[in-house]
Amino acid sequence: MSSLGTKRLGKELANEQVSKSLPPGITLVKADDLQEWLLDIQVLDQNPIYAGETYRLKFRFGKQYPIEPPEVVFTKQENRPIPMHPHIYSNGIICLDLLGSSGWSPVQNVESVCMSIQSMLTGNTKNHRPEGDADFVSTNKARPKDIEFYYHDNEV
């Protein structure tokens, strides 16, 4: 990782551990190195789709972070399902413009990404997967950031 990325992630980490500044519903689970972090998120209002559940996010930081976006996916574990959402595939890949190179801004950080994903869940009322989920999950081999998402439904 470039010195810029190391310095920046170090600062982000210090900020979150020392001041515990993460917003409610978002907790840092693991940040042992500067390559991969795990975070848990919950939806705090009474959205029936997500009530009572906790979801796990995996961040992977490339060499160019924060100039390039990190790779962010949901990972499935016991007690940590993949949330239902028309922009989240059942393998955990998230279709969000913020995470692509055209929607990313280097001013974004781990915290702001988590908040965007949290609010994306909070505002959702559709309890289903994206169109073509089964096909995509069985055939996709590309890294999330290399996928050209086709936004079937821009209202969500």
């Binding site: 810029l4 310095k7 920046r8 900020n15 160019q64 100039i67 801004s105 001013v107």
Partner: protein
């Protein structure tokens, strides 16, 4: 503090455009390098701030990045300029960096074939970027290339290895054995050699010497008819492919010509300018063959009427002229130096060029007047 690296050292050098989003110079530089080098962006690089749509201007960029990157930026900027403009296209020749301007509109492409010549010498169609395909319009070229890719090999094989049953016209491959054929579909029994009834063959089981019997000739006529469409396609395809191959050989010829010109200069004491006629002849051959090649695709789709005959005459004249010139051109050095042959070659060269222009003028006029094709 810089919001990208979160650095707040004293004396941190920073930069902001008019939008006021200020970041340290180092981060800005990283950001721009990534956009230009990895993402190939130029005209659409925005301020790094989230949601700020301010585009980085060239002057700010020059302040921030190395001259090398700035050069790449200019290159990309030119590229987007050309790509965004309908009247500009990059020359598709390898290593050519020129763009060509042409005012043709998309809807005119069925009436005009907009061949352009780049300063590098490469001639291509502004409509579809393929190399020059006059007189055939783009749509026709697309169909022809697709047909050739789909059919040519299959059609060739069918033509070489199969015959149709004289009774039901099923295509039959003879993959060994004797000449006594029984059609699997209609059970008709016939002789592979003469296509006549097998019952008339008597005892000559493995050899057919009955080529002139009536049943055989009739069957062969019927067969010939069913093959007309296939043969028609192959007729045009073979001529098209032949000129294409010759055009490829022209490339080798060009290098040979250059050598010949040098040899000729030393053998006959001619000056450089005096041997340029060989260069002109070589150029003429290449261009004319390219045109001839496409006249065959053009002719394949052409609906038959009085104009067709004029077209075919023009085509024949050009072909004859080209083959004549080609023959002269391949004479050994000793003969090439002969001043009579030189005059002949020069005459033939200008004749070829003239015939080509006449053919193209004629077809261009007919195209503009709405020529009919059988597609």
């Amino acid at each position: 503090m810089c919001d990208i690296c979160c650095d707040d050292d004293e004396g941190l050098q920073s930069f902001a455009m008019k939008c006021g989003h200020r970041y340290c110079v180092n981060c800005y530089r990283h950001y721009l390098t990534q956009k230009i080098r990895e993402e190939g962006e130029a005209a659409r690089i925005q301020c790094p701030a989230e949601g700020c749509s301010r585009i980085i201007d060239a002057r700010s960029l020059d302040l921030l990045v190395t001259p090398e990157l700035s050069g790449r930026y200019q290159e990309l900027l030119n590229r987007t300029y050309v790509e965004d403009k309908d009247t500009l296209k990059w020359c598709p020749a390898p290593d050519c960096e020129n763009a060509v301007e042409c005012g043709i509109k998309k809807k005119e492409l069925d009436k005009v074939v907009p061949t352009v010549a780049c300063a590098c010498g490469y001639r291509f169609c502004f409509g579809c970027i393929l190399s020059d395909h006059q007189p055939a319009p783009c749509e026709l070229v697309k169909r022809w290339l697709k047909k050739c890719a789909d059919d040519s090999e299959t059609a060739n094989w069918i033509s070489a290895n199969t015959k149709e049953c004289p009774k039901c016209n099923s295509t039959i491959e003879k993959n060994g054995g004797c000449n006594h054929m029984t059609c699997r579909k209609c059970k008709h029994e016939f002789c592979w050699m003469c296509m006549g009834l097998w019952s008339e063959h008597g005892t000559s089981w493995y050899n057919c010497n009955r080529f002139e019997e009536k049943s055989g000739t009739d069957a062969r006529d019927a067969q010939a008819k069913s093959r007309v469409s296939l043969e028609r396609y192959l007729h045009y395809y073979n001529r098209y492919a032949n000129h294409e191959q010759s055009a490829r050989l022209d490339k080798d010829m060009y290098t040979k010509t250059e050598k010949k010109m040098v040899q000729l200069q030393s053998a006959s004491g001619m000056s450089w300018i005096e041997v340029q006629y060989l260069n002109s002849a070589s150029q003429a051959l290449q261009t004319c063959r390219q045109t001839l090649k496409w006249t065959y695709a053009f002719a394949f789709y052409l609906a038959r009427n009085n104009l067709t005959e004029i077209f075919e005459d023009n085509q024949k004249d050009l072909e004859l002229a080209v083959e004549n010139l080609s023959e002269m051109f391949e004479k050994p050095i000793a003969e090439l130096a002969d001043s009579k042959l030189k005059v002949d070659i020069m005459d033939k060269t200008s004749y070829c060029n003239k015939r080509r222009l006449i053919l193209l003028q004629d077809t261009a006029e007919n195209l503009a007047n709405g020529m009919s094709f059988k597609l």
